[in-house]
Amino acid sequence: MENTVIKINNLVKRYGDLIALDHLDLEIKQGEIFGLLGPNGSGKTTTINCLLSLLAFDKGDIEIFGKKMTPVSYDIKKDIGVIMQNVTVFDELTVYENIDYFCGLYIKDKAKRREYVEEAIKFVELGDFRKFYPKKLSGGLLRRLNIACGIAHKPKLIILDEPTVAVDPQSRNRILEGIQELNRNGATVIYTSHYMEEVEQICTRIAIMDKGRKVAEGTKDELKRMIKNTETITIEILDVPDNIVKEIASLPHVYDTDLSNGKLTVYCSGGKHNLIRVLEVLQKNELSFGRVYTELPTLNDVFLEITGKALRDKEE
C-alpha cells in the first residue's frame, strides 16, 4: 500500500509583489523518485525551502509523514536528508569530518555513526579523499561530498535540490545511479532539476512547475500523453516542391510540417505508420532523400509545449 510522504496543500508564497508559489498542491508517495522540473525561477527551490520550514509562507499546509511540518518538528527532520543547491560544507573541516559532523546531527551512537559515515564515503566514492579539505576538491567531488553529508544518516526521505549542477557526465551518472540505489533501499526521493534527461532517466513521477504553479504532473508516459506530438519525423532532403509539402501536411495525423536547412520535419499526433505514409508520398513523387529518423517525444517537448518556451536562462 502506498503511503503519502509529503502533502502540500494550496501553498502560496509571495516576495513582495512577486508570487513565487501560486496555490501549489503536491502529493508524494512512499517509494517514489519524484521529479520537480522547471526552468530557473519557477519556484522549485522555494518549494523545497517551504517544505523544510526554512521559509515562511503566506498560505497553505505542509505535511510530512502525515504530520504538520514546523521548524521544531525534530522528529520529522530526523528522517529527512537534505542536499542543498549550494554546497554546504565547512571549509575548515576535512571530507570525513564534514560527513561525520552532519551525520552526527542525526545519529548519536558513535559506533553506528562511524559505520554510516564509512558507508557514505564508499557510496560517493570519496575514499581517497577522506583527509582532504573541501577547497582542494573539484566541483564534482564537492557535489558528491555534499550528497554524502545529506544521506549518511540513511534518511527515509531525501530531498535533492539540483545536486548535479556543474558536474561532469561521469560524476552525474554516478550520482543518478546512487539516487536510484538509495530509492531501491527504501528511501523516498524528491529531486529538482532543470535537466530534462536526468529527470526522465530516474524519476518515477514528475511535476512540471512554471511561474510558481504546477502546470503538469504524472509519470513520464502520462506527461507525454498530455501533449499533441507523439512522433517527429525528420527527413534529410534537398528540395521539396511546395505542393508535395502540402500533400504531406494533409496526411492524417500530421499537424505541422517544416522545411528548412535541407531537412523536412513532420510533426505527427497519434496514429500509427506515420513514417510509412510520409515515405510513400515521397516515393510517389520520385523524390530522393538521405537519412530518415523518427523521434518519440521527450520531456523536453512536453516541457516546451506546456510552458510554451525553452528553458529560460534566468538565475533564480
Binding site: F132, K136, L137, S138, L141
Partner: protein, 397 residues
C-alpha cells in the same frame, strides 16, 4: 571603465563602518575645537583641587579662598572611591581635607597634621600642593611669631603670598599667533592619521582583495581588457577614494573651524594629503597579501593604533622616550606628526624641514609601491600560477 565602476560597487559594503569613523571623528573634533587658547603669555597651571573642609571656620574658609585664587575647585562627593577614581583619571589633581581643629591648632602655632590629603601617588601636583600648604602655614606662623594677632597674621600671610614672579616665555621668531594655523587646526590634523588609516586601509584593501581574488583575476585576465588598463583603473579607483575621503576631511576642517585655510595652514593641508597618499599605498601593499576579511580588520587596527601610539598621534611626542622616537622614524606617521608640530609651532618652524618631512613621507609611499610590486611579482608570476595549477591537478586525481 567597468573595473572602476565595479570597485565603487564593492566599496558600498564598507561604507557604513567608514561612516562611523568619519562621524565620530567630526563629533570629537568639534568637541575638542571648542576649548583651547592661542596665547603666548605664560599662565600658571591651575590645578583641579577638591577641598573637604572639616574645620569650617573663617580661617579655613580663608585658606580655601587663597587656594581658589590660583587653582580650580572641583566639587566631588566625599566618597573614597569617587576620590580615587577622580585622582586616577586626573579629573582632580589633589584632594585636600582641612582637618577639624585646624584654626585652633594654627592659632596655637602647631603645624603638624593640619591637613590630610588623599594620596594616590607622588606626582608633581602632590609635591606642589604640599609645598604650598607648608609655605602658607609657616608664613602664618611667622607673622604670629612677630606678635601679631591671629586674624592679622592670616590676613598678612594672604597678602604676603600674593607675590608674583615675572615669567617669560622663551621667545621665537614668528610665533603661532600670526601663523594662521591655530592650535585647533593643529589638533584636528593631529588625530587625522588614525582615522585615515582606519578608513582607507579597511576600504581600499578590501576592494583590492576582492578584485584580485583568484577567480575574478583569472576571469578578468581572460577578457579583452589590457592588463595595464586594469591596473590603471584599480589605481584610479583607489586614488579617487583616498582623494574623496581626504577632501571630506579638509572640508570638515573648514566647517569645524569656521574659516578658510590661509597661510601656513596650507602646509598642513598638503601634509595630510601626502599622508593620505602614503596610507593609500599602504593599503595596496596590505591588499597584496590577500588577507581574509576579518584579518584585514585586525591588521587595520594594528597599523592604525600601533602607528598612532608610536608616532605621537594619541600622546604628545614630547613625552615619548627617545628610544621610541628613534624607532618611530621608520614609520611614515612620525614624519607627518613632525611636520604638523612644526606647522603648529609646537616645535620650531622651518620650511626646509617641513619639506624634508614631505619628501620622506613620499619616500615611504615609493617604498610601499616597490614592495607591492615585488610581492605581486613573487605571488602572481608564471611559476606561481604553474604550481597552483599543478596542485589543483593533483587534487583532482
Amino acid at each position: 571603465m567597468q573595473v572602476f565602476k565595479a570597485m565603487f560597487k564593492v566599496m558600498r559594503s564598507r561604507l557604513p563602518s567608514a561612516l562611523i569613523y568619519i562621524v565620530c571623528f567630526f563629533a570629537i573634533s568639534a568637541i575638542i575645537a571648542n576649548a583651547s587658547t592661542n596665547d603666548n603669555k605664560f599662565e600658571a597651571k591651575r590645578l583641579d583641587i577638591s577641598i573637604f573642609d572639616e574645620d569650617d571656620t573663617p580661617e579655613s574658609h580663608a585658606l580655601a579662598e587663597i587656594i581658589k585664587k590660583s587653582n580650580d575647585i572641583v566639587e566631588i562627593e566625599k566618597d573614597k572611591d569617587t576620590i580615587l577614581d577622580s585622582l586616577y583619571y586626573r579629573r582632580i589633581d589633589y584632594a585636600l581635607i582641612i582637618n577639624k581643629g585646624y584654626a585652633d591648632k594654627l592659632r596655637a602655632g602647631e603645624t603638624a597634621e593640619l591637613f590630610s590629603s588623599y594620596h594616590l601617588d607622588e606626582s608633581f601636583s602632590v609635591v606642589y600642593m604640599g609645598q604650598f600648604l607648608d609655605e602658607y602655614v609657616s608664613t602664618v606662623k611667622a607673622y604670629l611669631s612677630m606678635g601679631e594677632a591671629f586674624d592679622e597674621a592670616v590676613a598678612n600671610a594672604e597678602d604676603a603670598m600674593s607675590q608674583n614672579a615675572e615669567v617669560n616665555m622663551l621667545s621665537r621668531i614668528d610665533k603661532g599667533g600670526n601663523s594662521h594655523f591655530s592650535v585647533d587646526f593643529a589638533g584636528y590634523f593631529q588625530y587625522m592619521p588614525y582615522i585615515l588609516v582606519s578608513i582607507i586601509i579597511s576600504v581600499v584593501s578590501l576592494v583590492l582583495v576582492t578584485m584580485n581574488k583568484k577567480d575574478i583575476r583569472y576571469r578578468t585576465n581572460c577578457s579583452c581588457l589590457k592588463e595595464s588598463s586594469y591596473t590603471f583603473q584599480l589605481f584610479l579607483g583607489s586614488f579617487l577614494f583616498v582623494f574623496i575621503i581626504w577632501l571630506l576631511f579638509m572640508i570638515g576642517g573648514m566647517i569645524l573651524n569656521k574659516e578658510f585655510y590661509t597661510g601656513r595652514a596650507w602646509y598642513a593641508v598638503l601634509n595630510s594629503f601626502i599622508f593620505a597618499v602614503v596610507v593609500g599605498t599602504m593599503a595596496v601593499l596590505v591588499a597584496s597579501f590577500e588577507p581574509k576579511d576579518n584579518v584585514l580588520n585586525l591588521i587595520t587596527q594594528v597599523l592604525g593604533l600601533g602607528m598612532s601610539f608610536f608616532c605621537g598621534i594619541f600622546i604628545p611626542v614630547e613625552v615619548l622616550s627617545d628610544k621610541v622616537l628613534s624607532v618611530a622614524r621608520f614609520l611614515p606617521a612620525y614624519w607627518y606628526v613632525r611636520a604638523n608640530n612644526m606647522i603648529a609651532d609646537i616645535t620650531q618652524f622651518s620650511l626646509n624641514e617641513v619639506i624634508q618631512c614631505y619628501l620622506i613621507q613620499l619616500g615611504f609611499a615609493a617604498a610601499m609601491v616597490i614592495i607591492t610590486l615585488l610581492v605581486r611579482k613573487v605571488k602572481y608570476s608564471g611559476a606561481a600560477i604553474g604550481t597552483a595549477v599543478k596542485k589543483a591537478a593533483a587534487a583532482e586525481h
